[in-house]
């Protein structure tokens, strides 16, 4: 019987297999940031252990960093960032600190350096590591104990998850993006739908996505409960990788492409579960609640909790409406926002900024609008293309690279009761600041919303 893509990549990385034990899996790349690593390095020191492969490890500063120029004002954040610097120096790990041309959100810099390649195993103490699966590898988030384990051994003991195919047929209509697709998928299968699975996104609509779009889709796999999401590599993948600093070149490039081309699910392989979705029926999506599964087309209205038959979903909806300050039956388009955020590991890449700029060109924003490039290289590229001038002329704020308003760990936050349209990945209670209310949207919807001050699709302008 044939094998799925996930099975092929997994098998390639099994160091040791024994009855009744998890596989010992080799890790090709370990990404580090300041938040989930300090206790892991402490653990190494306490046990007198070294980092086995500093040459397969890379660190950046992202979660705590302010996105305006200047030092970190919060002393606790500052200590955390300085701790990473000390640890990276002591253990010999390459670090891209604030102000460095290579600094950025951990899941943006791996692909831009060409360190993220097909068929690799990639981990990071961050659940959005699933982003890297867009290149056809297995990439997943881990906790700090596992960060320490990978630092010490370059391996992880793990049971292979089950496999799920999400088959996306048809073509995304004009104005409907990768973000809308993944929000629709999460709304369909729920926040627990992917638990225990590696998801492979397949089908015509997925093949037609750019690498940026594929990363957006894989990034939010975790919001459907799946630790990893992946897309088989193809010409789009190879074209993205070619010439990047850490991509192979010459004869090794040819060898790599030959191998990468074998990384697809065999025709006779069987998935443990298959979910089908028709891309041609999708429209811009937006969340109304406090988990990423609580989403609807922008054309819809805030749902009535009584309409949920499952009592658990009903009480979750009641709670969500109360927290979000929303009334059932209100058209989503009538919801007014205070802040618009374009950025994050979900939508902070150049293509995302281009699409937001296209909508803001020649228009004025009505709300506070933060445009935050995912990395300093994205920032540089955007400025070379003149996008920053478009944003500034529209009245938006053009910031330095970082996680910014995706999570409440740096100065970019919502105040209690404030409402945002955000291109990030989580609408949890307090995610963007205590008491803040988040609606997850695509960069296009975010930009259109900035123009009108209420949830808006570009086609409405």
């Amino acid at each position: 019987m044939g094998r799925t893509l996930a099975e092929k990549v997994w098998e390639q990385h099994v160091v040791r297999r024994a009855d009744g034990e998890p596989d010992l899996l080799y890790i090709d790349l370990h990404l580090i940031h300041e938040v989930t690593s300090p206790q892991a390095f402490d653990g190494l020191r306490l046990a007198g252990r070294k980092v086995r492969r500093p040459d397969l490890t890379i660190a950046t500063e992202d979660h705590n960093v302010p996105t305006v120029l200047g030092p970190i004002a919060d002393p606790v954040s500052k200590t955390q960032v300085e701790t990473l610097r000390k640890n990276a120096a002591e253990f010999g790990i390459r670090l891209h600190p604030m102000g460095d041309a290579g600094q950025g959100v951990v899941h943006i810099i791996g692909p831009q350096f060409g360190l993220t390649q097909p068929g690799m195993t990639i981990v990071c103490g961050d659940s959005h590591t699933s982003t890297h699966g867009a290149f056809g590898g297995i990439a997943f988030g881990i906790g700090t104990s596992e960060v320490e384990h990978v630092l010490a051994t370059q391996t992880l003991p793990a049971y292979r998850p089950k496999t799920m195919a999400i088959e996306v047929s048809g073509e995304l209509p004009v104005g409907v993006t990768a973000k809308d697709l993944i929000l629709a998928i999460i709304a369909k299968i729920g926040t627990g739908g992917g638990q225990g699975y590696i998801v492979e996104y397949r089908g015509e609509a997925v093949r037609k996505l750019s690498m940026e779009g594929r990363m957006t889709v894989c990034n939010m796999s975790i919001e459907a409960g799946a630790r990893a999401g992946m897309i088989a590599p193809d010409e789009t993948t190879f074209a993205y990788l070619k010439g990047r600093p850490h991509a192979p070149s010459g004869e090794l490039w040819d060898q790599a492409v030959e191998y990468w081309s074998s990384l697809r699910t065999d025709d006779d392989a069987v998935f443990d579960k298959v979910v089908e979705i028709d891309a041609s029926t999708l429209t811009p999506y937006v969340t109304w609640g406090t988990n990423p599964g609580q989403g609807l087309p922008l054309d819809a209205s805030v749902p009535d909790p009584a309409s949920f038959t499952d009592p658990i979903a009903r009480s979750a909806a009641e709670r969500a409406l109360e927290y979000m300050g929303l009334t059932a039956g209100t058209p989503l388009r009538e919801i007014e926002v205070d802040t618009v955020f374009v950025g994050s590991c979900t939508n902070g890449r150049i293509e995302d900024l281009r699409s937001a700029a296209e909508i803001l060109r020649g228009r004025q924003v009505k709300t506070r609008t933060l445009i935050v490039p995912g990395s300093m290289l994205v920032k540089l590229q955007a400025e070379q293309e003149g996008l920053h001038e478009v944003f500034k002329a529209a009245g938006a704020e053009w910031r330095e690279a970082g996680c910014s308003m995706c999570l409440g760990m740096n100065p970019d936050t919502l105040q209690p009761g404030e409402r945002s349209a955000s291109t990030s990945n989580r609408n949890f209670e307090g995610r963007q600041g205590k008491g803040g209310r988040t609606h997850l949207v695509s960069p296009q919807v975010a930009a259109a919303t900035a123009v009108t001050g209420r949830l808006t699709a570009p086609a409405d302008l």
């Binding site: 010992l24 659940s127 700090t144 627990g192 979750a316």
Partner: protein
């Protein structure tokens, strides 16, 4: 980590679903560089509500958290596990868990127990009726017992053994350092390094 065989204690019912790790420990608490001091951050935003179940004096001293489904979804922050443990919890019972949270728990010796949804609700109701109810979580026997009820749960043999022995994963893996070295010699030549 501490070994876990059997634990008996009182429980607290958390009747919420999708309890994400941002709720268990809000992001501002993640700026700490130590492994201790997270008990005050546990459910920090929710605890500001006097009506929140953890503020109910009837449940003080509870060591078993009985939650609605999809507990521990979202962020990979292991701080969620540390906060629960440092507050005094040894066990979390739910119908479904976020994968990363569940994995982190077993690395630290916090036992995540999956019970069918109706059994979780029955236990929540029993605890609400009598907050002093003694609940036993028997890892060796793979069973949760309370007031004449006994409900089995599944956990793989290897994780169960590791928890019962209180074993450190890194120590176990380092026994196979030769296998790791042999694997490294056979890696594909085009794979990148960060140097």
């Amino acid at each position: 980590m501490d070994a876990f065989t059997t634990h008996t204690g009182t429980a607290v019912p958390l009747r919420r679903s999708n309890v994400d790790t941002d709720q268990i420990i809000p992001a501002v608490w993640l700026k700490q560089v130590s492994r201790t001091g997270f008990e005050n951050g546990l459910f920090a935003a929710w605890r500001e509500d006097p009506g929140f179940v953890l503020n109910d004096p009837a449940y003080q001293g509870a060591s078993i958290l009985v939650s609605g489904p999809d507990f521990g979804t979202g962020s990979s922050r292991e701080h969620a596990v540390w906060a629960l443990q440092q507050y005094g919890f040894r066990v979390v019972i739910a119908a479904r868990f976020g994968d990363i949270f569940r994995n982190n728990s077993t690395k630290m010796g916090l036992l995540p127990v999956v019970l069918p949804g109706e059994k979780v609700e029955a236990l929540q109701a029993a605890v609400e009726a009598d907050p002093s109810l003694q609940v036993t979580v028997d890892l060796e026997g793979r069973e949760v017992r309370w007031a004449g009820e006994a409900v089995g749960f599944e956990i793989d043999d290897y994780t169960r053994w590791r928890l019962m022995e209180g074993l450190d994963d890194i120590g176990l893996t380092l026994r196979h350092a030769d296998d790791v070295a042999a694997y490294e010699n056979e890696r594909q030549p085009w794979l990148p390094t960060t140097v």
